[in-house]
Symmetry: C2
Subunit: 326 residues, 2 copies
């Protein structure tokens, strides 16, 4: 399990069980692909969404909880996440993810398409096993749909230099925040908290998700490849204009125009020039401020949760998201 | 609706309702993609699986049936089918499907990956709407999984000249027969027939599926591009060795060896040469015999169904599958 959780021993134990459960689920006749999926599930992923799930569950009435069900639900969230990562890597043609080769680069896009599909199926299989008949079945399908519509929005806006902050938010709300929303909401629900806490959990998840994505987008402009464990400026060169760029461009659109007009033909040199313009026009600073706003919203809501160990851990974990390498 | 159904007016009407229902489901913020999906759902697809579904439902107790639910379930099967077609076309890099451009060739693989994923979600969304809590939820997930494992098997066996008929059957059982199995079984179940008829329906579907795939594979060796509405010998050049080739190769492995050894480097000329060898060594004739065996199994089981309009139509439709253009 990722060293990130050394300071969260209860969560670490549960995530370890999720990891073992996933290994058992990833059962494919083709043993190469099975091993690739198991490697992928264990290769440095933080299991951040399952962690939020368990922290919200911890707030609920322990005696009403079914530990096995909670493990399965947490795993289903990670399966959905893994499926979207594998398909994202096809689109990005990414050679690296979490510091190791992507399924796409190791086995080709053909295998990557079907293994991603297979994980979507396993996601539903686990859900059906644990909550068939529950209204949460529909909420899970809705989350998956929101996630994909967010990805399609992002795709649609590629190389669109007229993209607005609202466009960005709509896409991020789907592609990233939807899964944090689901993880927190399901944790609160299946942990037997209360309807009030469930509503709060959903809001907290959504705001954390937006902040999380914004920080991720900031890293693209401030990090180097060895720290990031994936190529830098990848989004920019692929026409995905994220919050640091959008905010910098709002300061001086004309400075960016000659570069963005080149669309897919931006050289590495030019991409670096755009990145330095983003910094020069306070894009990174403002994006940090943007992310901070959402983190503060989440923290304010976290403080409205019942006091205790879980709330303290939630607050700490959320603050840590603010202190990532940049 | 496809002219194929002009002689089946009751089925034609129901498939028309499925078509309208699908159009309403294909609701995407990006209107280009929405239109592409609607076009795809209406562009010459025969809705063969929904047709089998309705014919089996017709055998059941009409007064117990919920017409709206039946439309939704039939639509869910077509959604799953469409999703897999879109992802297949990414893998095959197919320019054409049903005589029109594929989503992949029209919008690129990026959009194709996510639109396929979106259809998988819509598949589950419709299922959850109509049968949340039913054990058929798990059977649907199982069918989708079987389908993908079949595709992965096929992928795994690409350019493998040691592939056996059993390997082929294992893959076809998943990638094609699983969906016919599901369509017939669900028709019988949600049409309120009996457990005996349900079991028979599943078997019939599976055998029809295998025969259907075998005929499809035969067409690849006997048809021309304008009849097929997609490139011919596509499977062969992509290393997918289907039943006509496998049976011909069993007659004289040495004749094929120099060609198959070239794997992905087979020229168009050489592919045509392989195709003529397949014909020369009775690969097509034997494959027809192979397909006929499965069709006869299905027909024998169909004759065990209660006599009546639906059974007659089922028999006729199944016989028609034998009379496709080759």
């Amino acid at each position: 399990m990722h060293s990130h959780w050394n300071d969260y021993p209860t969560i670490q134990n549960k995530l370890q069980v999720v990891c073992s459960f996933l290994e058992k689920q990833l059962n494919v006749r083709n043993k190469d692909i099975q091993q690739a999926l198991i490697d992928f599930s264990q290769a440095g992923g933080k299991y951040l969404r399952p962690a939020f799930f368990f922290l919200f569950a911890e707030i609920g009435e322990q005696e009403k909880q079914n530990e096995e069900d909670l493990i399965k639900i947490a795993s289903s969230i990670e399966l959905l996440h893994m499926a979207t990562l594998i398909h994202d890597d096809i689109i990005d043609d990414s050679p690296l993810r979490r510091g190791t080769m992507t399924i796409q680069s190791r086995y080709g896009k053909d295998i990557a398409v079907y293994t991603g599909d297979l994980l979507f199926t396993l996601f539903f299989e686990v859900l059906i096993d644990v909550m068939n008949g529950s209204p949460f079945m529909a909420m899970n399908a809705q989350a998956m749909k929101g996630l994909l519509l967010g990805e399609l929005d992002q795709m649609h806006n590629r190389y669109n230099s007229n993209q607005t902050i609202d466009d960005y938010l709509l896409s991020v709300n789907g592609k990233t925040a939807e899964l944090f929303w689901l993880a927190c909401l399901e944790g609160a629900h299946f942990g037997h908290t209360s309807p009030e806490i469930e509503a709060l959990a959903g809001d907290i998840g959504r705001n954390i998700g937006i902040a999380f994505q914004a920080y991720d987008d900031i890293l693209d402009y401030t990090s180097d490849e060895s720290t990031l464990q994936k190529p830098v400026l990848e989004d920019l060169t692929q026409g995905v204009y994220t919050i640091p760029l959008l905010l910098a461009k709002a300061q001086n659109s004309a400075a960016f125009e000659p570069f963005l007009r080149k669309k897919g033909n931006l050289t590495e040199e030019e991409a670096k020039k755009v990145a330095s313009l983003v910094v020069a026009y306070q894009g990174v600073e403002q994006a940090k401020e943007f992310a901070r706003t959402y983190t503060e919203k989440a923290l304010a809501d976290i403080r409205r949760l019942p006091a205790g160990h879980a709330r303290d851990q939630l607050e700490r974990l959320t603050r840590q998201l603010l202190a990532r390498n940049y």
